[in-house]
Symmetry: C2
Subunit: 218 residues, 2 copies
DNA sequence: AATTAAATTTAGACAAATCTAAAAATATGT
DNA sequence: ACATATTTTTAGATTTGTCTAAATTTAATT
């Protein structure tokens, strides 16, 4: 597998999400910052390798083989992210770029040993689940902070937006995974919320609340 | 810099060795298992980037900029080798292949943090020196075991041949870096030697003796 | 249902890195 | 020194992954 092929497979996996629908070449082109015609070319190659189902003009989706391939790449990406944060003191807004490179290193032994060194972590620094060696992964039972009712309570378990700017904002306000959040109030007008974390009270916009994943506590 | 460019620069550095002489396209082609015409093409590109001096039909050599580039790549390669052995329990005959990939990861912070994690090692698992961040490196004061006189003594500090087959041979006979070797006898006919390591006596061929580096003790 | 708009594919081109085969330059041997 | 052998370069082709522009298919609209 070439690096380009791996990047396409990974992108298709992310665009598929939960439900099984066909992905358009346009959507992939947009996501990967490339042209639809390039996606068409690659689609033919990936279909030849039986990594995707591809019907001209209709769209494409991963085969079982493609899905396994995607999960192997994502496993590597997320394990490297944990390594960078836990062992090399990278902050969670710096890891993506480097992990994008490291995920393409070809050595089964290497990634298994990294897994072992990290004591088999289940989640990456952004709260995303790490697939096991055999491609299984348990998505956490989580909701968006914006879905928590007033006087609801939950633990912050992940971020939806993983852009450095959002992550740095959270750092600045000492919002990190594992902290408990209480919803004190919500403004109907703009959906902004008043919350409490570690005895500190905050006012956060709806844009923040729709990008924080919470494990509801009661 | 592309991966191919980096591999050429690295190979040229290794072929130059100590003295400053021009490297032939043929020599590079042989070393890299490619064709001389491909080397010529790349030579033009590297000369354009001022990484090498290149005179048609005469040969090529690294510029100061090229040398710095080579040392940066070699630094990464050797640090990753130490990481694999010290932190992930790879054996010294498995690390080269993986380090060949890891050396191309582009992140200054990453390699500096790996350096720190390893406590700034000076030598890689095969005894080769690791260049510092600013491209300095101290070659050890070493000789080949074959150059040690009878009843001479020294510490094994490196290997010349780093092929898995040679390294596995050494493992099998419990010859490792850091052990002290005494030369008990030498056979004039085939240059084979009788040596002692850790109270065990060995008979080794000249081919072995010319691939083990020794720091002479007296 | 016909026309227009949007999405997708094809055709042809390009850059990087490689190759083969032929041409040019350098080295060797008597 | 001249002929031959070797080395090196050029020219043209190939593969991978990309692009633009044109053609085709599908979707939307009146």
């Amino acid at each position: 597998m070439t690096r380009a092929e791996e990047n396409y497979i990974k992108t298709i996996f992310h665009l598929e999400g939960e439900d099984t629908h066909l992905i358009s070449t346009n959507a992939i082109a947009e996501e990967m910052d490339t042209k639809p015609s390039s996606v068409t070319d690659m689609a033919k190659k990936l279909a030849d390798k039986e990594l995707i189902h591809y019907v001209k003009y209709q769209g494409l989706s991963l085969t079982e083989k493609g899905r396994r391939t995607a999960l192997a790449i994502i496993r590597k990406h997320r394990l490297w992210e944990v390594f960078l944060v836990d062992k090399l003191d990278f902050s969670w807004d710096e890891v993506h770029e480097v992990a994008e490179q490291l995920e393409h290193i070809k050595s089964e032994k290497l990634i298994d040993k990294i897994d072992e060194l990290l004591d088999f972590p289940k989640y990456d620094p952004h709260g995303d689940p790490i697939p096991t060696k055999d491609g299984k992964f348990q998505e956490r039972d989580k909701i968006l902070l914006s879905e928590l009712p007033i006087s609801g309570k939950g633990v912050c378990v992940g971020v939806k937006d993983t852009s450095p700017s959002f992550l740095k904002f959270l750092d600045k306000n000492h919002i990190a995974l594992g902290h408990t959040i209480y919803v004190l109030d919500r403004e109907a007008f703009d959906e902004s919320m008043k919350i409490e974390i570690d005895d500190r009270q905050f006012h956060i916009s709806n844009q923040i609340a729709t990008n924080l994943y919470i494990k509801q506590l009661n």
